[in-house]
């Protein structure tokens, strides 16, 4: 239990938390804004990573590779969206179907279950080697932080536009949205594409960061995303009211999640149990609103005036 080993691991945890934070913003868009639990993301994260790595290996520039990964994720979102709206399949099932299909697609993209790139041979944007002993502008933490701030600014602008407002209205009350002439099906598809694009971008960054894309890299991603959203809201919900800050809160939630994971690993817990731990923690946090209303509300006396 050497405290220095924990301290040394923290910058890596922050970098990872930031990269997963982009993914968590994607989850926030579907789960909080559109009111859909979109399970596509478990597959999309790998799709983004796989496309990015394969594009790099075929000699593409890093920006092109990341753009291709993001677009591939948007296509996955489109698939889920069409399953849900055009084919009338419940959202949660649509996500599961796409996710299952993506498993095969991801294997076909990579040709095998794992593809690695050497950080010395490719000009990567982020890497776990770029955490220390690099010029500050190459530092992965700074690079991802700048990317996140840009993304939040763009999303803040978008959700203030007419189109963005109609997406929010669709998620809040689709009946009202239709009565106000909003094409709710289109909004759902667009939201799913936007969300999965962000998740794939996160996957593209993650695969560069760890130096490989792996068929299992997205397993349980939705749970990590939800954990970030819930932690972010629990910790910063009272102080962050502005939409942009709420998104920042989600990213911070993701960082907190990875710091906690790092501490848990440092404490020497069996890492095989990490996913179980995440699932239990998220389940408890998701239950809190129900428990609060069921067991902790004071009974209101009725008919007091009579």
């Amino acid at each position: 239990m050497n405290i220095m080993s924990l301290v040394n691991a923290l910058p890596g945890a922050v970098a990872q938390g930031l990269i997963w934070g982009i993914m968590a913003i994607g989850v926030y868009i579907t789960y909080r804004i559109l009111d859909i639990a979109d399970l596509t993301v478990d597959g999309t994260l790998c799709t983004g990573g796989a496309v990015c790595i394969m594009a790099l290996m075929s000699g593409q520039n890093i920006w092109v590779a990341m753009l291709a990964g993001t677009l591939a994720g948007m296509l996955a979102g489109l698939a889920t969206g069409l399953l849900h709206t055009f084919m009338g399949i419940p959202a949660i099932l649509s996500g599961i179907l796409t996710q299952l299909g993506l498993y095969s697609i991801n294997l076909k993209i990579m040709g095998k279950s794992n593809q690695a790139v050497n950080v010395d041979k490719y000009d990567l944007l982020v890497s776990l080697r770029y955490i220390r002993d690099v010029p500050f502008y190459r530092n992965t933490i700074l690079v991802v932080l700048v990317a996140i701030i840009l993304l939040i600014l763009i999303l803040y602008w978008f959700f203030g536009t007419e189109l963005g407002c109609s997406l929010r209205a669709t998620g809040c009350n689709d009946r009202m949205a239709r009565a106000q002439g909003i094409n709710t099906d289109f909004c759902r598809v667009l939201g799913l594409m936007l969300s999965n694009g962000l998740v794939a971008l996160s996957g593209a960054l993650l695969s560069q960061y760890q130096g490989f894309a792996d068929i299992n890299m997205g397993r349980g991603a939705i749970v990590i995303g939800l954990a970030a959203v819930i932690i972010g809201e629990a910790v910063f919900g009272k102080i962050f009211h502005n939409f942009g800050f709420r998104l920042l809160g989600v990213v911070l939630g993701s960082i907190i999640y990875y710091l906690v994971v790092q501490v848990v690993i440092w404490l020497g817990i069996d890492t095989d149990l990490l996913k179980l731990l995440s699932a239990v923690v998220v389940a408890i946090f998701l239950a809190i609103p129900t428990w609060k209303s069921r067991y902790f509300t004071k009974p209101v006396r009725r008919g007091g005036k009579q």
């Binding site: 536009t161 007419e162 189109l163 009350n173 009946r175 009565a179 106000q180 002439g181």
Partner: protein, 264 residues
Amino acid sequence: MLEIKNISKTFNPGTVNEKVALDDVSLTLEDGDFVTVIGGNGAGKSTLLNAIAGVWPVDWGQILIDGQDVTRLSEHKRAAFLGRVFQDPMNGTAATMGIEENLALALRRGTLRTLRSGIKNHEREAYRELLSKLGLGLENRLTSKVGLLSGGQRQALTLLMATLKKPKLLLLDEHTAALDPKTAAKVLETTDMIVNRDRLTTLMITHNMKDAIVHGNRLIMMMEGKIILDIRGEEKKKLTVEDLLHKFEEVSGEEFTNDKAILG
């Protein structure tokens, strides 16, 4: 203005729950008509309004608004012609969005939503003025979340949203039924004010016979998916609740048993 030609709708056809909700209904509304609709539970009142709004396609028949056939148009496309207020105050507004944002959504009904700003500064002034006319103090709470408003405030706001962009037809589906009597009276008063001011063609469902008689220039009664009474003009003006009950018995051959409709 509105022409409904022989529309029919059956829910759950071919099952034990089969229900003929609309049975060959035809109805024509003139420009500026304010029609009240009454009838017992399951008479087809709400189904008629939903058919016009395009919530689902009708099995048969044709619906024209201002001469344009809208029978095959989807719900959100038809919304360009319609203003709607629902029975449940929760249904008409987006609770997690601000009052001004809700109004801005309504102002853009029937237009293509683009990447222009969702609400412009000059709109806020107009919203403040319109809200102040409701007399509910909402004009000082433009950015408040609609979820914080009372049922009556939400219905008044929904009414404002439905008429912000003048609709060709206003559909009110028992919009005061969920409110306490005092608030209901206030919302009805606002309804009259807006309908008269903008000379809106209106279909208003109510469970209250007195309201149905007092408001509007025409009254229709529905039963078992059919329009069984249609009273207008001078006859409507002289109508009393007793007349209405009497007429109902005459037409239907049974007693009007819905206490809610008599006492309400």
